[in-house]
Subunit: 422 residues, 2 copies
Amino acid sequence: MTTNAQTPKRNVLIIGAGGVAQVVAHKCAMNNDVLGELHIASRTIDKCDAIAASVEEKGSFKQPAVLHTHAVDAMDSEAVAELIKETGTQIVINVGSAFVNMTVLEACINTGAAYIDTAIHEDPRKICETPPWYANYEWKRKERCAENNITAILGAGFDPGVVNAYARVGYDMMDKGSVTDIDIIDINAGSHGKYFATNFDPEINFREFTGTVYSWQNSQWQSNKMFEVKRTDDLPVVGEQNSYLSGHDEIHSLSANLDVPNIRFWMGFGDHYINVFTVLKNLGLLSEQPVVTAEGQEVVPLKVVKAVLPDPSSLAPNYTGKTCIGDKIKGKINGVETEIFIYNVSDHKEAYNEVGSQGISYTAGVPPVAAAMLVATGEWDVGHMANVEELDVKPFINLLNDIGLPTRIQDEEGDRPLQFDI
Amino acid sequence: MTTNAQTPKRNVLIIGAGGVAQVVAHKCAMNNDVLGELHIASRTIDKCDAIAASVEEKGSFKQPAVLHTHAVDAMDSEAVAELIKETGTQIVINVGSAFVNMTVLEACINTGAAYIDTAIHEDPRKICETPPWYANYEWKRKERCAENNITAILGAGFDPGVVNAYARVGYDMMDKGSVTDIDIIDINAGSHGKYFATNFDPEINFREFTGTVYSWQNSQWQSNKMFEVKRTDDLPVVGEQNSYLSGHDEIHSLSANLDVPNIRFWMGFGDHYINVFTVLKNLGLLSEQPVVTAEGQEVVPLKVVKAVLPDPSSLAPNYTGKTCIGDKIKGKINGVETEIFIYNVSDHKEAYNEVGSQGISYTAGVPPVAAAMLVATGEWDVGHMANVEELDVKPFINLLNDIGLPTRIQDEEGDRPLQFDI
């Protein structure tokens, strides 16, 4: 792993102004001794201004500063490049819609800024493309990033992101070639008190579950339907929880980067969520393909469902309970078969009190700030495109321990914090 | 009751081209010795042409004739009046959307044609107006109909319509002033084989259940929510069935025209229907009020739900099972308390074989043809506006016995056909 010898990158531009961007902004402000000038941009500047006001109000800046706000259409790569240049941005944290990743990445390649995102690129017209997903868009730009010395860190949220780091840690702890299974389990045991709501942009949330569920089993892609395969785990703090085999970004890089025959992602759902989802899906209301009303209006049903659901960021004030996300990893240590669980537990209410967002946004928003800080210190300013598991994940996990997302490990020796001596 | 002395009205214009219009067209054709020239018009002439082709194909005309097709915007009252004049129409059977009743009625008033509909007028922007519903639109034109000698028969489908006739019959069979309860029960025990579908235009169907449930109890309007009050009956042919207190047109005229303290409407629903309805309603997807998508498009959610659901007319070929709709009437006969049930049972498959529509459309479409035939023979050509229970209902029930909707009665003497000696 090489690092750039040039001046440390510090100035940050946040793309997006949703619940995750709110967390990113607060955490950047709280660490602006490591990071430099902070900017935030989205299509609607009002949303950026609201985040800036929240950062101001909570007094989040470690060193006196302001969060500069901008309006930009992130689908317009040249406009983003222009903004990067104008603002002197050195690190872009892209937490906008999943549809803007490639235009923002292109802007970074063309301006020399480092790029960090938290979810895979999606084409709004397609759901669930051929695996591995990263090969459809991101990895096609791998060579150009290397040629141009561009640091591009893909999927640096919690999942993908921290769970990739957990996979790497478990993989490295075990005997070489001995890991048989990595099961990533994402449980939200919180309650938002609404009839129904999604914790992320409903459009992205539902798109995750309407397509084929790809998992990596016996070293090949396996296809299932959503809610077809269920598991039940007794987990720390949140207790017994059901989760379902789901398609998710991290499988598509971990399967390429680690020599492990079985890599699966499990998302926890309550019966009520499944019922609402099933009704909407069976009726065709989760379709990304337009329908025509009797009056001749062309409408994408999923966009209407999004319009009637609560804004995920509105859930934060009344959200209670915990999340538990982690990796169960099976393999051998010193020749003995073993299973370990590396995980984080977060609290919705604490997240809201700290940064004004709920726990799901918090777990997604803190890690890219940690990644940006590691780019700023040079440790992750690698000058090429990388998924998290390809990087040195120890300083990442240590830094997250310090800035709000502590990691714990469960193994034969018990349940304890995970911190590395570096 | 007076009848017009003028030349019998016979030529018919059908407004609308949905599943009910299909039944109306076939039944008019099968009785074109009583009725005269037949025309059908809707916004989309292709739908009219398809109905005309079906009438032709099944050889439904009793006497050689053709069903003439026209394109008309039924919201444009002058265009409808023009069409009435051009076609020499004397009876308009309006089975178009519930939003066009008043424009079509106005066209009849202005041209002298008789008017028949099967459901109450609705304003697309409002749901569930103040009771009695007929007073909001229809009855405001009562005087003008009388002044202009216009026969306007309101709500002459099955429910409202035939069930109003049943109420009248039961009321007249019992001791004067003794009837305490009329409970209209509408059960569809059929199966369409789809995940979910409505038997009528989904927009109208859902609008019936999203507003306040008005019932007439203790001689006043009572408000409930949908699915709040349930009853279970053991009914002829269809067996034990659950139904729920619902708002429905006929309560709003029967409560004004009959001296009965309790008049309620009960609609049968399966648990699956209720679940889908509840999810859609709670999410706000049944709203008739526009929402704005993230992209700025203004959309009425209910119209999108309609767009994704199966076209009700598409259900017919695979529909199996029976409907049972009737009135349970409590009162005294010769001083003795009694309860009678006057009802019809129809079969989805038989309806499809006869006229190419399912049973729900069949029960709604046959009665307005009977009404038109009674206008043509002069018996119902009353020269004023009337709800069905205000007319002489005996020839109506007898005629329905002959043309496909036989009435039966259950009382202390058993279960038998109901036919009147006139």
